[in-house]
C-alpha cells in the first residue's frame, strides 16, 4: 500500500523522529516501495498457523526475587549526563 505524506508525518510523530516537510514525500515513496515488496507475504496461506513467538523452544526461566547486583551509585552516575548530588538528573519528562 502507498503511504501518503500525512501518514508518514503521523508515523514520524509516533516514532518521535522528526522528518522535515521536504523529506515527507521521498520517505513516503521509499517506505511505500518497501511495503509493496513486503506485501508478497499475502500469497502465503497461513490459515491455522500459530505465529512464532519464541525462537528456540524453551520455557522462560524463573529466578528468586532477590537483589543480586547493584549498590554502586558511583559507577551508575558515571553514565549520567548531569549528575547532581548523587542523583541521576534528567530533563523533566512527566508534566
Amino acid at each position: 500500500m502507498a503511504l501518503t505524506r500525512d501518514q508518514v508525518r503521523a508515523i514520524a510523530l509516533l516514532a518521535r523522529v522528526r522528518v522535515p516537510d521536504e523529506g515527507l514525500e521521498p520517505m513516503a515513496k521509499e517506505i511505500s516501495g518497501i511495503l509493496h515488496w513486503i506485501e508478497q507475504l499475502n500469497e502465503v496461506d497461513t490459515e491455522g498457523v500459530e505465529p512464532m513467538t519464541s525462537v528456540v523452544a524453551m520455557t522462560l526461566p524463573m529466578r528468586p526475587d532477590a537483589v543480586d547486583d547493584g549498590g554502586d551509585p558511583a559507577a551508575v552516575l558515571k553514565g549520567a549526563p548531569e549528575p547532581v548530588d548523587g542523583f541521576y538528573a534528567v530533563p523533566k519528562v512527566v508534566e
Partner: protein, 503 residues
Amino acid sequence: MSALTDLGIAEAAAGLAKRDFSAVELARAHIAAVAGARALNAFIVETPDAALAAAAESDKRRQDGRSLGVLDGIPLAIKDLFCTEGVQTTAGSRILKGFVPAYESTVTRNLKRAGAAMIGKTNLDEFAMGSSNITSAFGPVKNPWGPPLGRAGNKELVPGGSSGGSAAAIAAGLALGATGTDTGGSIRQPASFCGIVGLKPTYGRCSRFGIVAFASSLDQAGPMTRNVKDAALMLGAMAGHDPRDSTSAPIPCPDFARAAIAPVKGLRVGIPKEYRIEGMSSEIDALWRKGEQWLREQGAEVVEVSLPHTRYALPTYYIVAPAEASSNLARYDGVRFGLRVPGETLDDMYMNTRAAGFGPEVRRRILIGTYVLSAGYYDAYYLKAQKVRALIARDFRDAFATVDAILAPTAPSPAFAIGEKTEDPIAMYLNDVFTVPASLAGLPAMSVPAGLSAGGLPLGLQIIGRAFDEETVLRAGAAIERAAGFDTRPSRLVPAKAGKGDR
C-alpha cells in the same frame, strides 16, 4: 615462521606455549598493524594500552604456569556493538558517540576471563543495520581486498556488513579473531566478502547481555576468524548460559574444537533447491556445485532438499527486524544517556535528538517498524510475518528430518564497490537472501571461504545446521575448508617483503 600477524589462534597459542614469542610481542605486532592500516577505517576506537596490559598479565600467568588456555594472550578485535566497561561503545551511531558503559557484555567478559587481549572496537553499520558498512556514522570500512590490488579496478570495495570492521580486521591481519553479531547475515556476509570464517551460533548459544540490541529475537554473537578450528575455539570461550539473558540456553557447551576435526564420512548434506534463485550468477552456482563435490569426495551423502518458503524469508525479515528495532531503539531519547538535542517541548527534544542522532537507514527502519506495529496494521504485517516465520522454521525442521546439514552460498555476489546499491534499499537487502532464512529459524550457520570470483575476490559457502548442533556445522565447514585450500590473502597492506616466510 610466518609473521605474527599471519597466524591463526591455534598456531599463536602453540607459539606462546613454546615461548617462541611472548603475548606482549604478539600484541605489539598487532597494535603496529592496526596503526598501519588506519586507511581501512576498521576500528572506531583502538585500545593499545589495554591490549599491552592484558598481554603482560598473560605472559606473567604463563611464566607462573597458570595459563588460562588457548585464548590466553590472543589479541582480539571487538565489534563496537558489545558494551565494554570504560571503553566507548557507539553501535556505529552518532546517538551513542561518547557513550562509555559502566558494565561489560557477557561475551566480552567471557573472552577477557579466558585471557584475550582486546586491541580495539571495530566499525559497523549503524546499529548493525546494513550489509555494506556504509551506514556507520564513523564512515565506511574499506575492504582489504580492494585497490591497490587492482583486481576490481580502482574502486574501494565494501567489506560487507554489518560486522565489516571485524571482517576487514581479520582479513588484513589486525587481530587473530574478532567478535561479530548476526541478525540477518551480519557475520556471514562480511566473512564471505573478506575471505574469512564467520560463525553465527544457534539463537541462545551466546548471551545477548550487554550487546546493543537491534532485533532481539534474531541477534546472536559469534566468532570471526581465519579458519574453522579458530572459530570453534573462540566460540567455546564466548558461549554458555547466562542468567542475565533470559533467552540464553541453559545447556552445556560441547567441545567445539574437537567437532571441527571429525570426518564427514556418512554425513547427509542437503542442497535446498529453492536457493537456486533466478538470476543467480554462474560463478556462485559453480562454486556451490564444487562444494557439493568436495563433500561427496570426503564421503558425505549429498541430497536435494526443499525449503518451500525460502522466497518469503526476506520480506518476513523486513517486518520482524524493523518492528523489533523500533521498539529497542525507543530508549535513545536524549534523556538518560547519549546525544541530546534540546527543543522547546519534551516532544521536540525527543524528535530533534532522534532526527540528529540516527542516520537515514536507521530512521527508515524505525518508521517502518513503527508503522507495521501500529494500531490497525499489526495483524496485516507483524502477525502475518510471525506466521510465515513459523512456516520457514518448519521448512528447516522438515529438511533436518532427512539431512544433518545444509550447504548453500553465503551471498549472491562478491564484495561490491562503495557507493553501489545505495539508491534502492531493496537491492541492498537482497544481499541477505541466503543468510536470512537461518536467522529467522534461529539456526547455527557458518560461512567458509571457498574460492575466488572471476575478479579475484573471495566467495564463501554456507553450512546451516540443526538448532544447537554447531558441531556438525563446524565438521562440514572444516571439510569445505580442507578441500578449498583457500589461503589467498589480500596483499594491500602487506608489502611483498614483509611476508617473509611461509606465505
